[in-house]
Symmetry: C2
Subunit: 187 residues, 2 copies
DNA sequence: CGCTTTTAGTTAGGCCCCTAACTATAGACC
DNA sequence: GGTCTATAGTTAGGGGCCTAACTAAAAGCG
């Protein structure tokens, strides 16, 4: 839904050509980058389109999934802050999500009597019914999307993706990618 | 920036456990799915964070890149409709992007004298200066993100991603993933 | 106890993204 | 020529995402 990046990926030859005028451009790295964003976007759209048939978005789906406590063995978030952390969004974003979910009667907020700063969020019966009705199709979608990959290929893919995530988290705190970035001329 | 999906990915064992109560759940497929979205999101954030230092977003960056005609050999979009198609967004979205880019003096709209329904969009000198100032860092970011992958791994990754994209585009038109989807009980 | 810092959550404002509906022009066909 | 359809672009309205600023409660500390 979100990404917006070159639906028609530039041809690889074009990247190689462009590399001549941009010394920093690494053609194969750019190719992976673009394909990764594009694939993520495409997969996201397919899953989201299915969820939309049940009138919920990815964000709402994620919140409901996190609150579904019948998933044994998984730690159970209860507060907006925990939900935001696990979903990887800002707390203000989670406030908005819970607002609309509560408006639609899918979750319920209750104040925590022990710490009056905190809220406790829980699924309503209606919310649980909805999320359970969506899950089978969602699982089928995921299985269908990956159906062309062997088990070995899936393992390889996850391993390579994790290498990138690792690198991304290394890069994200400082965000300084090269010495000259800090001293680059202001625009 | 956009995705929102389980920053802390559920443990694989948890998926296996959950598979017992959800027959449609394919654990390895779900694992790939979640890792793919998470990696795409993480990579997107890193790139976006860098672009933000130059006061532009991914969407704006993409539009400016598409308009930068010094990339030889690449077809040159000129109208909002072409830009929208190549960027993979709705035309209304492109209208909004061009609105803000024009407001900031980075692009310019001009009516097409031959077909008065059409507009022609072009970079201003200010826009070209900006995009050129951003590119070196952006290329470095992409290279850094992929620096842990060998050339062979990059090829493998692109190949596997393309398998998924292929499957996603197969699935997207009909979106019916299994026979019982159409006949599922309404919620 | 009172003051400061920290933490939970919300509010305010903005951008990106969508679909649906609308305006205006162009093209096709009688 | 006049209508009917198709196309380009915009507008309207909504959701999700963000950061920054705010309120309220808790916790640390003299």
């Amino acid at each position: 839904m979100p990404l917006l990046l070159l639906k028609d990926l530039p041809r690889y030859e074009c990247l190689l050509e462009a590399a001549k005028s941009f010394p920093d451009l690494d053609p194969s790295a750019s190719e992976v980058f673009l394909n990764l964003l594009r694939t993520g976007d495409e997969v996201f759209r397919v899953a989201d389109h299915n969820l939309a048939r049940h009138e919920i978005s990815q964000g709402r789906f994620t919140v409901l999934m996190l609150l579904l406590d019948k998933m044994e063995n998984c730690p159970q978030p209860r507060t907006p802050a925990e939900l935001a952390d696990m979903a990887g969004v800002a707390r203000a974003t989670m406030t908005g999500l819970i607002d609309t979910l509560e408006r639609d009667g899918l979750v319920k907020r209750e104040p925590n009597p022990e710490d009056r700063r905190m809220m406790s969020v829980a699924l309503t019966p209606k919310g649980e019914t909805l999320i359970r009705s969506v899950l089978p199709d969602h699982f089928k979608i995921m299985a269908a999307l990956m159906s062309q990959l062997s088990e070995a290929e899936r393992k390889t893919l996850v391993r390579l993706l994790n290498k990138i995530v690792q690198q991304a988290t290394n890069l994200s705190p400082g965000t300084v990618v090269a010495p000259d970035v800090a001293t680059a001329a202001p625009v």
